[in-house]
Subunit: 688 residues, 2 copies
């Protein structure tokens, strides 16, 4: 992982492509840095002006003084040369922000130019942000190293965006809402520095308490997991992942050239890392907005104060639908106390209804009593502008009470009549949501985050030592990429996974002295046939020797193969499928789901991201819809969940120790709740 | 259903409780009516001022001229008397808006007062809106008959709200967004006029093209269905139903006194009526906002124009997740044409990316080409305020192009930099959403609405003639509320529903000459035992006569009953449950779902609201998750769906013809895909 601590706190910056002409990109960069108030040394580079103007250098190598960072805004074909100049300059320049576009995102020519940047970064050990990016800001140091003007307000949240345009929109939105950031980093095409490098830096940045990322792909899965493992229980990391659908991925490819990724695996990784995964821009903004003026709530029980019944009910309904948050149960003393200040028809239950005629004093009294009894709980004060309502005064009261109620947020609903109150709220950094459901959606996500953060993170970084197993060696030497049954059986046995008993044969005579239990099944054991059902390479329910002989004749004719297996028919039970495959970004992942026809209809499956623990597997298995059945539903006996999770754990061991194995399919594992042990009826191992 | 056409267009109004003192509710009402500009005759009633001021009457009966409507804002205990006065006045007064609170919502005393209002309404054939309501507005006639000032802008959408406070917030929000309404009606406690009466009026109101309701309960199910049947295919009706969770319902009860209702049934009714059911305030507002400046889109293929890749991808992802909308497939000519005006690196695919440096002219050119080729499609123009962007100019271009693109809406993302552009957009009635997902969520709902509206509505209003069947008569005379097996069998047979064959017996001797097929099941046939499993009142898998005899001895001892049934064991198949129950609001509803353990885990069921047609039932059955299995999954044989829907249809006939039947349970119906006919293994009929 790259060390880029100096990157975002330069003492000196050179702008390559600087221009004295207003409106030019090279001029906008100068202006933004100056307006921001950064106190470092700024060098301007442009051969065009080097002769006529003293403050311009013709080339980076002419500066002769330390340059901590280069901002380049020149045509794409010239960028490589500039970087080379910098890398060879004395003193050597290491850090570059390439704002220019015209690279990977613009076609074949651009792709070549970008590959060159990557080579230069490796050759000279450079750090390159971009190309095709907005730059970054570091508000603490008053540095706006982007081509968009505006917001340098300090805050606790860092933004990392793979879309420069979205970052621009976020900055402008934040400007209006009094939101500050610790850093904003536009990562553009990620040719060198990617989200993992930036995360690795940000998780160590003491000004950053939360990180919000907009990502269109993840470049380096293990880097990403390493950067965040063990961090997300201390700092919320929010990710808006674009390209969750195939047409979304197509849109990404067309504008960034990134490749499609497996979204189910990404979601499983996010869950494992306790990342707050949001599904749209609004959720993304709402969490940033909330965290700008509230800590992560310490409690999941919510208190609602309202002057309007309807919105109070909608808030209650939202809470009723959620598994992660609850309505705070008010104590009798508290109710007694607050009733004194409410009219007879007002409700002292939660939501506390101060009634439509509530004047500011009633809000104040209620908030004071709440602050005495429930200071640590998330409080939502709802206001609709009714006849006796004075939104501005209530806003001022809220601003005052916020000191005692750190998780107090509000919902002033309306438009014209609450406009001035909104300004008061914004000025005082009170998060004000247009409706109660939106703030509740934020609190719900943070509550789940907090709960998962408290559970053990369970990341085990002991790495397995890969080795080539003789069985695999043999198969590879024979240019086979599927193992025979016996090979699979032997390999599995080393990891204590047992297959159903089976007798191999080529002819009926091979079975003469063998004990066969009827009814039995006959199937091919040949790497060429991977989908036996489709190839009619399996015959079930064979009742006796005679039928078996006939079956063998028949299957030989249909399939034209030589090796067969005879296996006892398994009693009907619950079918599971378990599999391992290697994701190009995240490495081995294990899948377990309800088998048979139901797999495809109910899509009831769980994805496991190694490294795994038995406990982690069982907690993940509990997300399966059929888990209540596995556990024993309504007095029925349960299944051996421990045995299932053991298979999953061992598959992940096989995957980490045998890098040549590309895929493993166990289909089905038949399990029982009558004491009988589960049986793997079929399994296949594919090599890469 | 009430005829209230004159209610909302009065030529004369009397305000009871009128006051000359500024700030008093009775004065606010006068001021609002005057400020609105209504041109009718206004009478002020208040005995307190009748002597000192000429313009005040002491009593309604003193007016002696026609009064079309009374607005009452006096203490609750006085309301009944005033209504009586009005009803007995000459000319008689028929229409009342009771703004006063202090009725059902405030306790036992209030409930009595409210019951009195209801009696008066019936006795004198009056129309009473409220009590505990905001009143109503009729912008066309410049009438603001509420106690909130502001918005009387005309629009096409009517609002009906069971929460006055929410209506206030909506009005104020609409003020800021240049949104108009055809009517706003606050229905309060709904003691007389309820949502159905108001809907019945609004669906005939030529100024109303869409109706948006906030409801906490539905008072009269059949009135509601009758008011909307056959309407929702011409006019969108949007409902925000509060109280969807048990804690939400509790909150409602505490502030309005309404009773909890079955939300699953309400959702099934909404679906049947093609109501657009929204789940939060934001969705509710967004649809109202969109319809304020766009017609219901005629197409479900969407075209996106953007200067920002990220938001374009998020929009595409939203579309990718939806079943109801699609990305418009652009024709090659169109792409050729638009490419001429875009830079080389811009994308002419959908989303059309005009790139971050797009000046207003590029937006204009793109929109012009779109208007030529795709004028009827929903278009979303996304803008982020980048360096070369001029949001105000783009806003003006959009305003101009809107004439040619009726479903053009925009997403100007940001804050400060788009503030002035937003004002231009609002002034020109262009719907501008904060992010693309929100406008897409609206278009998606309208697209589904439109698709369902095009399908036949299938409402059959031929009513069944109820009769008391002798079987039911007999049971009732014996004070039984469950039928015996033979009774159920006979009643079902009349509706062509067949039960599994069975032999009745009291003793083993009864079975001597009977043909019993083994294996068989033995169970009790006694109304007292409704849950046989729990009472050990069923023995399965009896293999022969001897076992049967032993089983009979055993079951007699355990259950202490006298009547038993012997039934053949059914082969294992797919289990369904089918049931009928009477909802207190909507009458008989039928439920069909996947049976056994899976019912409870997967909750895979469908609710059918009579009147039903075979085709309607089958389309509803297709929503079951197991429907692919019923239909025949991946080459497997399908089940007889026609037979299932016939049972459902016949249950609804039984329900409509036999009003004494409270509930019917068929559990299970065992069905097969091997040609074998489905068998009902158990069924119970409960009387009320």
């Amino acid at each position: 992982m790259k060390n880029i601590n100096s990157f975002f706190s330069p003492k000196s910056i050179a702008i390559v492509g600087a221009s004295p002409k207003s409106g030019k990109l090279g001029n906008v960069l100068i202006e933004n840095i100056k307006k921001g108030g950064w106190r470092g040394k700024l060098y301007l580079v442009n051969p065009k002006y080097a002769k006529s103007r003293k403050d311009y250098f013709s080339n980076l190598s002419k500066i002769k003084k330390p340059v901590d960072l280069v901002l380049a805004a020149i045509p794409a074909p010239l960028v490589g040369e500039i970087i080379g100049d910098g890398a060879k300059a004395g003193p050597k320049i290491k850090n570059f922000v390439i704002i220019s576009s015209g690279f990977k995102e613009s076609g074949i020519e651009g792709k070549k130019l970008e590959e060159n940047l990557q080579k230069l970064a490796q050759k000279y050990d450079l750090n390159i942000l971009g190309p095709n990016c907005l730059g970054f800001t570091n508000p603490k140091e008053k540095l706006n190293a982007t081509f968009t003007d505006g917001n340098l307000r300090q805050g606790n949240t860092a933004i990392v965006s793979q879309s420069g345009a979205l970052a621009v929109a976020l900055l402008d939105w934040a400007e209006n809402k009094n939101i500050g950031f610790s850093k904003i980093v536009s990562i553009g095409n990620k040719t060198d520095l990617d989200e993992s490098d930036v995360l690795n830096y940000l998780v160590r940045d003491k000004n950053t308490k939360a990180i919000a990322l907009y990502l269109e792909d993840i470049k380096n899965g293990s880097g990403f997991m390493h950067a965040l493992a063990g961090i997300t229980h201390r700092r919320p990391v929010i990710v808006l992942k674009a390209g969750k659908t195939s047409i979304g991925q197509k849109a990404i490819t067309s504008h960034t050239g990134s490749l499609a990724q497996n979204e189910e695996i990404i979601e499983a990784v996010f869950e494992k890392l306790n990342i707050i995964s949001v599904s749209n821009i609004e959720e993304f903004q709402d969490i940033i907005y909330y965290l700008n003026s509230n800590p992560v709530p310490a409690k999941k029980e919510i208190l609602i104060l309202t002057n309007a019944g309807g919105p109070g009910v909608m808030a209650t309904d939202f809470i009723g639908k959620s598994k992660n948050i609850q309505l705070l149960n008010l104590s009798p003393d508290f109710k007694e106390e607050i009733k004194k200040y409410l009219p007879a028809s007002a409700s002292a239950h939660n939501p506390i209804d101060v009634i439509g005629d509530a004047r500011p004093e009633r809000y104040q009294k209620a908030l004071e009593i709440i602050a005495k009894k429930y200071p640590k709980y998330p409080i939502i004060a709802i206001l609709t502008p009714q006849n006796q309502t004075d939104p501005e005064k209530v806003a001022l009261i809220v601003a005052k009470m916020k000191k005692k109620l750190p998780n107090l947020s509000v919902c002033f609903m309306g438009g014209e009549k609450i406009a001035r109150a909104k300004i008061i709220l914004e000025k005082n950094k009170i998060s004000n949501f247009e409706n109660p459901e939106r703030v509740l959606a934020v609190i719900e996500k943070l509550a789940r985050y907090r709960e998962n953060a408290q559970a053990a993170n369970g990341f085990d970084h002991s790495e397995a030592i890969p080795k080539i197993h003789p069985i695999i060696k043999k198969a590879l030497s024979e240019k086979r990429n599927v193992l025979f049954w016996r090979e699979t059986e032997n390999l599995f046995r080393k990891y204590t996974i047992q297959l159903t008993q089976s007798v191999s044969c080529r002819n009926i005579s091979d079975l003469k002295d063998k004990k066969i239990s009827f009814p039995c099944a006959l199937k091919t054991d040949d790497p060429a046939i991977t989908h036996r059902w489709e190839k009619k390479a399996v015959i079930l329910n064979i009742q006796n020797k005679k039928e078996l002989e006939a079956a063998l004749e028949k299957i030989k004719k249909t399939t034209q193969v030589e090796n067969f297996l005879v296996q006892p028919m398994a009693a009907p039970g619950l079918e599971l499928i378990i599999g391992m495959k290697r994701d190009p970004v995240f490495g081995p992942v294990i899948l377990c789901g309800w088998g048979g026809t139901f797999t495809e209809i109910f899509k009831d499956k769980a994805i496991f991201i190694p490294p795994l623990t038995q406990r982690g597997i069982e907690s993940k298995l509990s997300q399966l819809e059929i888990f209540p059945i596995l556990k024993g539903f309504r007095g029925e006996k349960g299944y051996d969940i421990g045995a299932i999770s053991k298979i999953i754990l061992n598959l992940s061991k096989i995957a980490s120790e045998n890098l040549e194995i590309k895929e493993i399919d166990i289909n089905p594992l038949m399990i029982y709740n009558n004491g009988q042990k589960g049986i793997i009826l079929d399994a296949k191992i594919f090599l890469s």
